[in-house]
Amino acid sequence: MNPVLKVVDLEVSYYTDAGRAKALDQVNLELNAGEKIGLVGESGSGKSTMALAMMRMIKPPGRIENGQVIVDGTNLTSLSEDEMLRARLSKIAYIPQGAMNSLNPVTRIGAQMIDAIKAHEPTMSKADMKARSIKSLESVELKPEVFKMYAHELSGGMKQRVCIAIGILLEPKVIIADEPTSALDVVTQRQVMETINKVQAEMGAAVILIGHDMGLMAQSMDKVAVMYAGRLVEVSTVKEMFTEPKHPYSQALIRSLPKLDVRGVFQGIPGLAPSLLRLPTGCAFHPRCQEIMDKCKTVRPENQMLASGSRVTCHLYGEGA
């Protein structure tokens, strides 16, 4: 099976006054059509940056330094600005973090949807645009009336669904949703996830769900990718991740999940996330790692595939381990 998404050696830096921050470092990822992957990792580890880089939406002082993003056979990195504009939404769609709060308060939902189509498909007829918008609203289980409504007339869950509807207007092959449910209550969360699943199944698209809720990942994703300090340190199936996480950071993450038996026990990971300006040498996780070995301090671990199919970036595995 040909992957619908291939990210190859993607690298992004932010040039700040204090120096160059390496926000994304040699990121590789493959995704098949119909696959759903959760992207998790510490706050500030580069998840949104990865999404933005895939969309070619990194703004200065940020810069894509290297790498390729191939969607459905098209190398996005080699497209012209105009072509890229079209590819956004039709090949790859991004529902940004906090999108539901940035819907325009004074424009009707329908007009915002039509604007989105217009930006990418300027030649489509008005009637077609409307039909498409309504169809999109229906796929996220919103009534056609929402087309005529304003954002403030909608609940949080409905707003989030509108954002998803906008994202799928042009039936993209890859949908990236950045924390779509972190502002929603559990019941609404469940409904929104059911919507994403339904849309994804209908269109056969691949989904990348960025988030922090491991429960959500366990309940609705096929795979989980874990990011730490700008690198993907592990990509595993949900089953592997929750039963046998490989990377020490993933292990610590899984250990820190709240359980319903003993109250008041927290197990965070001691120490601070590293500064991207001065990443630790060797493995960036080594100052906080419980499994640390000598070479972790000096030798940068490479990403490798394990027999189980997991990919991991850690000296504990592979040759020489």
Partner: protein, 331 residues
Amino acid sequence: MATLLEFKNVSKIYKRGKTETTALDNLSLTLKDDESTILTVAGESGSGKTTLAMLLLGFIEPTIGQIYYKGKDISLLSGSERMTFRKEVQAVFQDPFAVFNPFYTVEHLLEVPIKRFKLAKSRTEIRDRMAEALTAVGLQPDEIFGRFPHQLSGGQRQRINIARALVLRPKVLVADEPVSMVDASLRANILETLRTLQRNYGVSIVYITHDLTTAFHIANSIMVLYRGSVMEAGGVEQVIKYPQHPYTQLLVDSIPWPDLSRRWGQTDLEPSEDTVIGKGCKFYSRCPKAMEVCKTKPPLYQLEPYQTASCFLFKEKPQLEAESLSKALPV
């Protein structure tokens, strides 16, 4: 026992054209001065959580009822009392994308409140205080100080919010979804920080969240709201482990557990229709157990010493006055 903060039969009604929304419906609540606590306020979107926070902070006024701080109606505070109130009651807001002035650096954002409330004597003291707060929320001070809000990730902004509240060491902290954008391990660290704040510095925390798992671990008591009314309240362990109100049961059942052997949500989801029927139970239209009597307003019933629910399923139990809600909330 001195009360620090008191809501007395508070309602907030928003009018927009002809429609009225009761965002908060006759809530009475007290936080004591000498017994700090962590109270979770849970409930779905639109249930009135943020409204409660805004009222508590004095940002909006109740339509009905009064709010007292140290015995004084907060709408009648004198200048200096107001200043004290502003300092002692702090908030961490829900939307980290909205609250910051985009032209201020992090350093400036943190410095302003310290200076305004004259909490430090020297430059170094200000600096130390800020660095301490940033470290407590897992941020590298030297890396973060010079940044502008748009140069921060979602979770970093959210943590700046918390750090801002920490530098002030308030008496009451209202935290509206403070950790929804950080990972589980950091969430654990930050919640631990909040708990230390409560235990060691006697800060009472109103923790507003939809995340019942973290509420379970950090809070002493919980109040579940639905469309502005208290559905169930009590000790956090009791309410989350043995939810009695059909709405709380739905919430607890919808928790996505990070556990593959536990399937998500066994109960069917009813769409949240806006058909509130008259004066009855607000959950009536979605309730799987709705009865004829539910078309009238259910009072609170006392189920356990530390558990109360507003539901006619428990009409055999003794009633609890709305004004006595806090008796069911352990500290």
